[in-house]
Structures are given as structure tokens and as C-alpha cells.
């Protein structure tokens, strides 16, 4: 390895009961690269995603975040090591305002810790970061609105904002555009691109438009194994992938990369 790996999976296995869901996955994501994880339903995408974020621990093999194993570490420790993840179902703080959702997500990375002897409204850096994010997410007008009163798309935007608020170098997004309309998806993809600029991004996504638009490389997962891991063009041209999964779901080469 000449280049530093932001995220590395080494022969990872995971079984639920008798079913082996992940059957020996090795994957290396170099720092700064955007990787999309695709595969048919039941291929183990969500499981692999949870293994990467430490929500599940592998039965065999190891997951390394910036060269350090995350095995046996708690979610907050993994976050402090530099990994932030979003959730498929919006997972915000429902009774807190939009601003507070973003502030709370940024506090640890700003070294605030469990601060008791200062005012939250005087945590200037956290406030500035929240304000900037709200502007980028288009949520400035809703700064004081409890998150539970936001529309679905707004909650998705907030979810993304909370994930990047801590400035973690490795970002995992779980189906960020799920349930969005076509026009929202296009706007949101651009937003993801700008907010994760310079960071390592791994995303699980069903929308092939988003995948081929966003990803530097695509990993195709079939039956718990990586079938291919390559650039979008190579994936599109790969006969194995076409056979196993994509078929006519692929955007044709001529109109690719929307």
C-alpha cells in the first residue's frame, strides 16, 4: 500500500444464525475517494455498511479506519476516530431545533467535550458551523423549528448536515436520496458532492443515476462477496456485472454521467 487507506476491510465475514451474509469481503478505500456500494436486494449492502461503521462487528476479519482497527469499539469512539455515518431512516433529534441538531453534532469535534461551565449560545465555532451548514442545506429559515416538524426532504438534508457537521474525514451515507423525487435527488446529489469535498465517502445507494454521477469507484456486492470494484466506466463495461446484476438498469454509455 503506497497510498494511505481511509477505510479497509480485510476478509470480513458476518453470519446471522446459519446464514452467512458477508462471505469474505476485502475492500480498500483510499483517502479522498468516493465509493458507492451497489448490489441487488439481499446482497448484504446494509450489513456491510453496518460493519464499516462499527454498528455490527465482524465474526471474522477486520475493519480498519485510517489504519486502526475499530473492532470492539463503541460508536462514539469510532466517531472520534474520524468516521461519521448517516441513517437510511432519518435519525435526528426530533424535539431539538434544526440549529441545535447541527450544533450538537459539531460540538465534540470542536473540543467542547461535556462542557458545563459555558453557554451554548457563546460556543461561537459551533454556532458558525451550524449557521453555515443551514445555509448550505437550505434550512436557514427553519433554524428554530423542531426537527420533527420538518418535511421529509428537509429531514434528509438535516440528516446529511448532522453527518458532516463533525468534520469527520470518512463519511458513510446510507441511501441518502431514498424516497426523494427526481428533481430533489439531482439537487441533493450536488449537495452531497459539495459537503463531502476532500473527504472519503462511502455510500449505499439504489439510484443508479446518483451512483454513476457521484462515485469515483463502484463496488458491486453480490451474495455477500465483492464481484467487482472499479471505476464507473469499467463497471458499466464489465460483462460479469451486467450478467449478475445491472442488466438494463444501467444508464446507457451515451447518456451516462448525467
Amino acid at each position: 500500500m503506497s497510498k494511505a487507506m481511509a477505510l479497509e476491510l480485510r476478509d470480513v465475514h458476518k453470519r446471522f444464525g446459519r446464514t452467512e451474509v458477508i462471505r469474505g469481503v476485502s475492500l480498500s478505500v483510499p483517502a479522498g475517494e468516493r465509493v458507492a456500494l451497489i448490489g441487488p436486494n439481499g446482497a448484504g449492502k446494509s450489513t456491510l455498511f453496518n460493519l464499516m461503521s462499527g454498528s455490527l462487528s465482524p465474526d471474522q476479519g477486520d475493519v480498519l479506519l485510517q489504519g486502526r482497527s475499530i473492532a470492539g469499539r463503541k460508536p462514539h469512539e469510532i466517531n472520534r476516530m474520524g468516521l461519521a455515518r448517516s441513517f437510511q431512516i432519518s435519525n435526528v433529534f426530533p424535539r431539538l431545533s434544526v440549529r441545535d441538531n447541527l450544533r450538537c453534532s459539531a460540538l465534540w469535534s470542536l473540543g467542547t467535550g461535556y462542557a458545563l461551565f459555558r453557554w451554548l449560545h457563546r460556543c461561537t465555532e459551533a454556532n458558525q458551523r451550524a449557521d453555515l451548514l443551514m445555509e448550505q442545506l437550505g434550512l436557514s429559515a427553519q433554524a428554530g423549528v423542531p426537527a420533527q416538524q420538518l418535511s421529509y426532504a428537509e429531514q434528509r438534508a438535516l440528516e446529511l448536515g448532522m453527518t458532516v457537521a463533525g468534520n469527520a474525514p470518512v463519511i458513510l451515507l446510507d441511501e441518502p436520496t431514498a424516497g426523494m423525487s427526481q428533481s430533489e435527488t439531482v439537487r441533493f446529489t450536488a449537495l452531497i458532492r459539495s459537503l463531502t469535498e476532500g473527504k472519503t465517502l462511502v455510500t449505499v445507494e439504489h439510484d443508479m443515476g446518483v451512483v454513476f454521477d457521484l462515485a469515483d469507484r463502484i463496488a458491486v456486492l453480490v451474495q455477500g462477496q465483492v464481484l467487482a470494484f472499479d471505476t464507473p466506466d469499467a463497471i458499466r463495461a464489465n460483462p460479469l456485472v451486467q450478467q449478475a446484476y445491472l442488466g438494463n438498469m444501467l444508464p446507457s454509455t451515451t447518456e451516462g454521467g448525467r
Binding site: 431539538l96 460540538l107 458545563l116 453557554w119
Partner: protein, 409 residues
């Protein structure tokens, strides 16, 4: 940006605390006020757990009770020497004891906030209470330990013998503690506690350990509960095992909820209500616990945001400005509600009187009327009143809800 520290509101609160003793005459009034101050601190500290942190504790009296015991120990052993501990600082000893106890027990109980937390606090509460009863030489058992607050130096003639001096000490602590606890809600830790209440899983994924946030909250809450216990020691000069018991813990829960857990204003109302109910209502009727239970049920079902929530809803409705239109309906609701209360009250009182009949005869006074439990007419009157109020109440409520959705519950 600084929503919690309205200067005017706090000045008003301070003024109220200063003037309250002069609004009414007599030692009883002063005693009520002192107890209210203590209860306000206790309920606020409970609400740091329940309202701010989503942690339902059934054992909060452990912290206030141990605080009370520690304060009693300090009063009896540390205040008389030279240089002795000033009596004014005795509540802080209680606070530190509550805090220490919460530090020890906190890590045990804060792994989750849900049922597990509730069960563990219940168990700890029972355990501490049982231990206190088993060690009467330490706790004084049911008789309790007593002390004398007139001890040590008396700066500026403040001996704390007269009740008025104790009241002002309690009032000062109430003001400062309330301000500190409200200020806590505006700190990063306070907001993280809200975040843990809303979604502990997500808190972990933004770099914080939800368990540690809960533990810190419990330690802070334990401190203020201990201060309340220490003040109670100074006020009553006696503390017994009851101060640690499940009944006391239950009272904190009940009245904090009745006051309202959504804001820090609710528990202040809750504390006041607690003293009114346990001191006044209990003197007025034997069935006070029943009324309290009914009130609690009604509030849980129809007004889960408590008294403070109801007041806020009224405030909103008034600000909307069309109150002239719904006022008649609203008054009707109140009127029929009062009739329901009178009828139900008559039935409850008569039922309770059945067991006293042998001693006190069959007649009882109720709202200036004489009822007789052996007379069918008395019972019929109670039922009649109940129905006469209930039917229009339900009808009016429906109209009201239709006409003004969301105006008031």
C-alpha cells in the same frame, strides 16, 4: 439566542420570594412557604432527569434523603466546634452528599434511559430505604434523628432560630438553585442531555457517550436534590427514614409531572402544588390521595404537558386574539366541570365516611351542606350532580374541540 434567562422574570421571582412572607400572617403560612421552596428545588432537580433527560426515576428520594441525613450529621457534629461550619452552608453538605451518592449509583443505573433505568432506580430506592431501617443507630429508624439549627456563630444576629430567618435562607437557596438549574439547560451539556433524551443512538454517532451524559446529569440532579434535603433538615430539625422512601420518590415524580416536564417552569408549579396537596388538601379531606390519583390520571390522559403546558396553551389562545368568541363556551366548560367535581367529591366523601359512620354518626358536612350516608337522597344527589355536570361537559368539550381545534385541551 438566550431564551432562558429573562432578567425581568427572575427579578419578579426574587421579589416574590422576598415579599411572600408578608402577604399573609402567621407561622403556618411561613411554614408552607419554606416547604414550597424546598419542594421547588427538589422537583426542578427531578426534572433534569425526567423532562430534560427522559430518565424516569423512581428513586429520587435517595439523593434528597441522604442529603438530609448528611446535613443532619453536619449540623450535629460540625457546626458547634470552633471554627464551626456555618449553618448557612449545611445545605451544601447535603448537596455534596447527594452528588457523591449519585456518582456512585449513577454509573449503575444510566446504561439505558428506559425501563431498565426506572427499574434500577426503584431497586436502589428500596435498597437504601431497607438499609436505613436496618441500621436505626445510623438513621434513627422511623423516629429519626433530630438536631438543633441554632448552633455556632450567629453573624449579624442570624441565629436561624426564628422561622422567618430560615425562610429567607431557603428562599435564597431556591433562587440560586433554580437559576443554576435553568442555566444548566443552556449549556452544551444541557443541550446534549436533550439530545440523549430524543435519540441516544444518534448522540453516540456524533461522538458523545450517551451513558456518560446521563451520568453527569444524574450527578448534577443529585446535588440539587441533596441541597433540598439539607434545607429540609434545617427547616424541620428532624429527618427519618421516610425521607428516603418510595412514597417521597413517588411524590417527586407525581408533582413534577403535574407541574409539567416540558419546561423548567413546570416543576416550580409542581413544587408549590406538592406542598398545597400534602399539607392543605390532606388536612381538608381524608380522601386526598384518591383525588390526587384521579387528577394524575386526568392529566396523563388529557394534559400530558402538565399545568405549565395548560397555561401555555391558554397564553397562545389569548394571543390569537379571538378569545371573545370562545369565552362563553369556555366558561361553560369550567362551570360544568366544577359541577362534576362537586358531585364526584360528594360521592367520594360519603364513601369514605361509611367507615367512620360508627364513630362519627352518619351525617357529614360537605361544602356547607349536610349529607347523610344512610339517606338514599344524599347519594342520589351526588350521582345527579355528577351526571348533570358530566353530560354538558362532554357535549361542550366536543363543540369546543370542533370550533377551536388546538385552542385548549
Amino acid at each position: 439566542m438566550k431564551p432562558v434567562l429573562h432578567k425581568g422574570l427572575w427579578a419578579g421571582f426574587a421579589l416574590l420570594l422576598v415579599l411572600a412572607p408578608w402577604l399573609h400572617d402567621g407561622g403556618f403560612w411561613l411554614s408552607l412557604l419554606s416547604q414550597m421552596g424546598i419542594a421547588v428545588i427538589a422537583c426542578l432537580s427531578f426534572n433534569i432527569l425526567l423532562g430534560q433527560g427522559g430518565m424516569l426515576s423512581f428513586g429520587h428520594a435517595v439523593y434528597s434523603g441522604l442529603g438530609a441525613y448528611a446535613a443532619m450529621y453536619a449540623l450535629n457534629h460540625w457546626c458547634s466546634g470552633t471554627p464551626g461550619l456555618p449553618v448557612t452552608l449545611v445545605p451544601l453538605v447535603g448537596g455534596l452528599a447527594g452528588m457523591g451518592c449519585a456518582t456512585l449509583l449513577g454509573w449503575l443505573s444510566t446504561r439505558s434511559a428506559g425501563t431498565a433505568f426506572a427499574m434500577i432506580t426503584l431497586a436502589i430506592g428500596e435498597l437504601v430505604f431497607a438499609v436505613a431501617l436496618m441500621l436505626p443507630e445510623l438513621s434513627g429508624g422511623e423516629a429519626g434523628l433530630s438536631g438543633n439549627r441554632v448552633v455556632g456563630a450567629a453573624p449579624w444576629g442570624m441565629t436561624f432560630g426564628p422561622a422567618i430567618q430560615v425562610y429567607y435562607l431557603i428562599a435564597a437557596y431556591t433562587l440560586v438553585c433554580a437559576a443554576l438549574m435553568v442555566a444548566f439547560t443552556a449549556t452544551p451539556l444541557g443541550r446534549l442531555l436533550n439530545a440523549v433524551r430524543d435519540n441516544p443512538q444518534r448522540v453516540a454517532f456524533v461522538g458523545y457517550d450517551p451513558r456518560w451524559v446521563r451520568t453527569l446529569a444524574l450527578v448534577i440532579s443529585g446535588f440539587f436534590a441533596g441541597v433540598a434535603g439539607g434545607l429540609a433538615t434545617l427547616n424541620f430539625e428532624i429527618v427519618n427514614a421516610e425521607a428516603l422512601g418510595a412514597a417521597r420518590s413517588g411524590a417527586y415524580l407525581l408533582f413534577t409531572f403535574l407541574g409539567g416536564t416540558a419546561t423548567m417552569f413546570g416543576p416550580v408549579l409542581g413544587g408549590v402544588l406538592m406542598v398545597l396537596a400534602t399539607v392543605l388538601l390532606s388536612a381538608w379531606t381524608q380522601a386526598w390521595l384518591l383525588y390526587l390519583g384521579l387528577l394524575f390520571m386526568v392529566m396523563v390522559i388529557w394534559a400530558p404537558d402538565g399545568l405549565a403546558g395548560l397555561l401555555q396553551a391558554h397564553g397562545r389562545a389569548l394571543r390569537q386574539g379571538n378569545w371573545r368568541r370562545w369565552l362563553p363556551l369556555y366558561m361553560g366548560l369550567w362551570l360544568s366541570g366544577m359541577v362534576v367535581l362537586c358531585g364526584a367529591g360528594a360521592l367520594v366523601e360519603m364513601t369514605y365516611h361509611l367507615q367512620l359512620q360508627a364513630v362519627q354518626g352518619s351525617a357529614l358536612r360537605y361544602l356547607g351542606q349536610t349529607l347523610d350516608v344512610t339517606q338514599t337522597s344524599s347519594w342520589l344527589m351526588g350521582v345527579g350532580m355528577l351526571l348533570a355536570g358530566l353530560l354538558p361537559f362532554l357535549a361542550l368539550r366536543k363543540c369546543f374541540a370542533l370550533a377551536h381545534p388546538g385552542a385548549a385541551a
